[in-house]
């Protein structure tokens, strides 16, 4: 690129004893060493090259990012987001200490900001995309907040490719003809994302699109695509699903059957109801000599003797898991897939509670009730879920021994009712079995749930427990309690007085636990106040448009 310089470098590499430097530029002054003269010339050349550098040739500039009409965050909320993102990963496993754990607050901050319809500040997009790359639970909210510019930026950095797969449902980006090309030519993940977003916008169009491509798709892809229909499932999907029951792949057939059974009006549901009726019946005769049931009607069960072709086509799996009898296995699948509404008629107009209360003969009760539980969850039937849950004050069964899964059943109840049930449960049984139940309650926890949790924590402290025994519930409480509870909790942050009234005896075990509880409650209160502040910041006056 520069002959003079190249020659100087060559001479320098070989050494002036082996090669005479080029003249010009090297001029040896009187009495000067040749090597020194070479350095003189090289210095001149170096400065000349640096001072005379020409611009690089610009590569293609990126396409301008699409616009975003959403309002910018209020300044305080913007600073908050920067802090929440900066905190990423810095808090290690240890949760002790009185300071709030910011990382755990990021998901709800993002959700709240999206409810306001803000756009993310451009300067924070890289940090946001990085955070969501590491934590998949942040992705959908982060990408909604990031909007079209986040997608644009992700297109420039291969590390953020995941953001492109999420499809146009995240954010108000336009869906154009480019999208249907994705369906025809894209990678599987891109196509699935496209189908998902289309399903959200236009369920029927998504079904048509899938049905059109169905015969040419591979079995495992068909299974995943079919799963997409789970969202926005309606009676209109029935014909397609019914056809899919004859699919070549067994897994696809099973999924289609499961989807159909979630449609209580479907033909499959009617067939299942018919099968269930033939297996489960009401015995009104009573007093047939079976001890323990007393007099009155009871449920008798006659499990199917065979699993015929039609049953198999409707998704009943022939081979039971090891350790289960095949007849009870078939029965449970039939009951699970049968519409719950059919039982009322079968049992003489009884309500779900009445049916659940009926005795079941021959030890079929756990099997039958477990199947009803799964049906209640699948069909989102609140009345049945309520009946099967029973009163919250009943003592919880040990893990794994019961046919009931309260957490799952709760998910079929309306949110307020869930909170009430769990509140009653916690008041009756304390916190030790509450963690999974709390997980299905809506955030922030509605009353009386919040109050019950605070009381239970207070009780646990008075009983001399250590706060880390409750760290799971504590962590949930920090994230889920209504911030309005902070004032009520404030009194709990004080360390309890020693009973003697005198100076606290140092070294006493209870005093040690008291300090830890004080700290744990301090963090709880601190986190609640921080959440209240965060929400207030988001409602603040909007920032300047970026």
């Amino acid at each position: 690129m520069n002959r003079t310089w190249d020659e100087l470098v060559t001479t320098a590499l070989l050494g002036t004893t082996r090669r005479m430097p080029p003249v010009p530029p090297v001029r040896v002054r009187g009495g000067q060493d040749v090597a020194s003269a070479l350095l003189d010339a090289a210095a001149v050349e170096t400065v000349r090259r640096r001072a005379g550098a020409v611009p690089a040739v610009a590569r293609a500039r990126p396409e301008p990012a699409p616009g975003d009409v959403r309002p910018p965050l209020p300044p305080a909320a913007r600073r908050r987001l920067a802090l929440l993102l900066a905190d990423r990963g810095s808090t290690g496993g240890g949760r002790r200490g009185a300071a709030p754990d910011l990382t755990e607050l990021l998901p709800q901050w993002l959700a709240a900001a999206n409810r306001h319809g803000y756009q993310a500040p451009a300067a924070l997009l890289p940090a946001l995309l990085e955070a969501a790359r590491a934590r998949t639970d942040l992705r959908s909210e982060a990408l909604v907040l990031g909007g079209p510019r986040a997608r644009w930026l992700a297109g420039l950095n291969p590390q953020w490719k995941y953001a492109l797969r999420a499809g146009p449902a995240a954010g108000p980006a336009a869906a154009g003809p480019a999208d249907s090309r994705v369906w025809e030519e894209g990678l599987f993940a891109e196509r699935a994302a496209y189908l998902t977003s289309l399903r959200r916008r236009d369920p029927a169009a998504a079904r048509e699109l899938l049905a059109g491509a169905w015969p040419t798709e591979r079995a495992e892809d068909r299974l995943m695509f079919l799963d997409v229909l789970r969202e926005g499932l309606s009676a209109a999907d029935e014909p397609f699903l019914e056809r899919t029951l004859s699919d070549r792949s067994r897994n696809v057939r099973a999924t289609a059957a499961e989807l159909l059974s979630a449609l209580p009006g479907s033909a499959l549901a009617a067939r299942m109801a018919e099968r269930a009726r033939s297996c489960v019946s009401l015995d009104r005769t009573g007093g047939t000599g079976i001890t323990g049931f007393g007099e009155g009607p009871r449920i008798t069960v006659e499990a199917p003797h065979e699993c015929d072709k039609d049953m198999q086509r409707d998704g009943v799996v022939v081979k039971p898991p090891s350790g289960r009898g095949e007849r009870s296995w078939w029965l449970s699948q039939i009951v699970e897939a049968a519409p719950l509404a059919a039982w009322r008629e079968r049992f003489g107009g009884r309500s779900p509670a009445g049916i659940v209360a009926l005795p079941v003969t021959d030890g079929w009760q756990p099997e039958l009730h477990a199947a009803w539980c799964r049906a209640a969850v699948r069909q989102r039937d609140a009345e049945w879920a309520r009946a099967l849950l029973g009163p919250a004050s009943e003592p919880p069964a040990a893990e794994g021994t019961s046919w009931r899964d309260p957490a799952k059943l709760l998910s079929a109840l309306p949110p307020e009712e869930r909170a009430e049930w769990v509140a009653e449960f916690v008041s009756a049984h304390g916190l030790s079995d509450a963690f999974r139940l709390l997980g299905v309650c809506a955030v922030p926890w509605a009353e009386p749930l919040g109050r019950a949790i605070v009381d239970a924590l207070d009780t646990a402290r008075d009983a001399g427990g250590y706060p880390w025994s409750f760290s799971g519930v504590m962590g949930l409480a920090e994230r889920c309690l209504d911030p309005a509870q902070a004032d009520r909790l404030e009194v709990l942050t004080a360390q309890p007085q020693e009973p003697d009234g005198g100076p606290a005896a140092p070294g006493a075990a209870a005093a040690g636990a008291g300090a830890y509880w004080g700290e744990a409650f301090q963090r709880l209160v601190g986190t609640l106040r921080l959440r209240a502040t965060m929400l207030a910041e988001l409602s603040g006056p909007a920032g300047r448009p970026a």
Binding site: T17, P62, P100, A122, N157, Q522
Partner: protein, 467 residues
């Protein structure tokens, strides 16, 4: 600092934070919970904020901030943190900035522990204002001794320089290729000799040479460049008496002779201006934390660079709010191309700045560095404001594996010119931030541009964003 007696904004407080971790930690403490006995004294009577923060220890930390110091706010805290200001001071200030309730204006004097520190600080400041005259006047004997010390050091440096020259010419005689196999040992030894010769500037250049040797494709060329410039510096030192004064000053400071900041402030002509704080960056070489603060004079249009040092792991004391403008005196260190300066009196609290300084094109940045080189051939980079440039990320898929290129460019919005971004720019998060703010549209970028490429330091979107 604030004659109206207003509380600062959260931005002003956060801008004082030494790093992101401190900002975060400080913000966590900006809640009433841990604070007790917090109070503030209004600005008029020497503004101050104080409070006690209970942490994990048994005794709370006592934190006090002097808001009205001549050289900027002063902080004191009983915590063991080596950050300055520490998270407690930041948390307390944020809480105070948030409003009346949490940190009320105290009716009484501050508590003893806070009052004493504030008084001591005030007294110290008054002594300093009384000026050099207050110190014992230098006697002729003192001056004579200082002169002799200076001569002895110059002689030692000259001996070191001569030895280094010998080393360089030997190297060129035998050839760079032949020296290839000899490893780092010789350069390390030479660097140590330069430290002995009290020429730390030469020592660090020699160490740079050692790190160049093993890296890069055309390292022979780079090695020759650096050897040649080092040789020129040696020659400059040996003939410093013949050089014009400013160039001689540049040679002296590059060799490693320092100018005392206090003496400079006392003697040099101050440049008063509204200095926009463009960027602040810390670098840590394991022995020393160096903080660079870049300023732009609104009136003069001049650039300035403040340096502040902290021992390993400690945050340097000087901190200015990035993005704000400070009405203050600067005194430039004497140099052929003055850039480094020392901060003198501040005349008003920092204020919002109306926007980026005027900038230029890619060509203008290149010629600014070129012209600066005319005065100071050893200059690595020169601060430039680029107007209407578009950041261009590396082409996908992955850029060339060569470490010489990281692929980023700052391209003129119009025309085909671009600056390559310095491949040593490790922090790609900053570059992605720049790309995100730009959104593919032209932006103004403050950068250092030198022979290694451009290092973007700040942009405007529309407020200043440090990268």
């Amino acid at each position: 600092m604030n004659p109206q007696g207003e509380r600062w904004t959260a931005e002003t407080v956060l801008a004082l934070a030494p790093d992101a971790a401190s900002r975060k930690a400080g913000s966590k403490l900006a809640v009433p919970g841990p604070w007790a006995g917090a109070g503030a004294r209004p600005e008029g009577g020497g503004g101050a904020v104080w409070g006690e923060c209970s942490g994990s220890g048994s005794t709370p930390y006592r934190t006090v901030v002097d808001l009205s110091g001549e050289g900027g706010p002063g902080f004191n805290c009983s915590c063991p943190s080596r950050k300055f200001p520490c998270k407690h001071a930041l948390g307390l200030l944020l809480l105070w900035a948030a409003g009346e309730a949490a940190v009320p204006v105290a009716q009484d004097a501050p508590p003893g522990w806070a009052g004493q520190w504030l008084d001591r600080r005030r007294q110290r400041a008054e002594r300093a204002t009384a000026g050099p005259g207050a110190a014992a006047p230098a006697t002729p004997a003192d001056e004579e001794a200082a002169r002799r010390r200076g001569e002895r050091r110059a002689a030692r440096i000259s001996a070191g320089v001569t030895e280094l020259e010998q080393r360089l010419t030997d190297l060129l005689r035998g050839g760079l290729a032949a020296a290839e196999g000899t490893g780092y040992g010789q350069w390390d030894e030479t660097a140590a000799r330069m430290v002995d010769a009290q020429a730390p500037g030469l020592a660090s250049r020699v160490r740079e040479l050692a790190s160049l040797r093993g890296s890069g494709a055309d390292r022979a060329g780079r090695l020759l460049e650096e050897c040649a410039l080092l040789h020129t510096l040696n020659q400059g030192w040996l003939r410093r008496e013949e050089l014009p004064d400013p160039l001689a000053a540049t040679v002296r400071s590059r060799v490693g002779l320092t100018t005392d900041a206090a003496a400079l402030l006392a003697s040099g002509p101050p440049v008063r201006d509204h200095w926009l704080v463009l960027a602040q960056r810390d670098s840590d070489d394991g022995r020393l934390v160096t903080r660079r603060i870049w300023l732009h004079g609104r009136g003069s249009g001049r650039a300035a660079l403040l340096l502040s040092y902290g021992a390993a792991g400690r945050t340097p004391e000087l901190s200015l709010p990035v993005g704000l403008s400070v009405d203050a005196d600067l005194v430039y260190y004497p140099a052929a191309r003055p850039l480094r300066a020392v901060l003198g009196a501040r005349h008003a609290p920092p204020v919002e700045s109306p926007g980026p300084p005027p900038g230029g094109s890619v060509e203008a940045a290149l010629s600014a560095y070129g012209e600066a080189l005319r005065d100071d051939p050893w200059l690595e980079a020169w601060p430039v404001v680029l107007e209407d440039v578009i950041p261009v990320p590396p082409p996908a898929p992955a850029p060339s594996p060569s470490p010489e290129v990281n692929g980023w460019q700052l391209a003129d919005a119009e025309g085909g010119s671009a600056l390559a971004v310095d491949p040593r720019t490790r922090d790609s998060q900053g570059l992605w931030q720049l790309a995100s703010i730009s959104g593919g549209a032209p932006v103004t970028v403050f950068a250092e541009y030198g022979h290694g490429g451009a290092v973007p330091l700040a942009t405007w979107g529309p407020e200043l964003v440090a990268l």
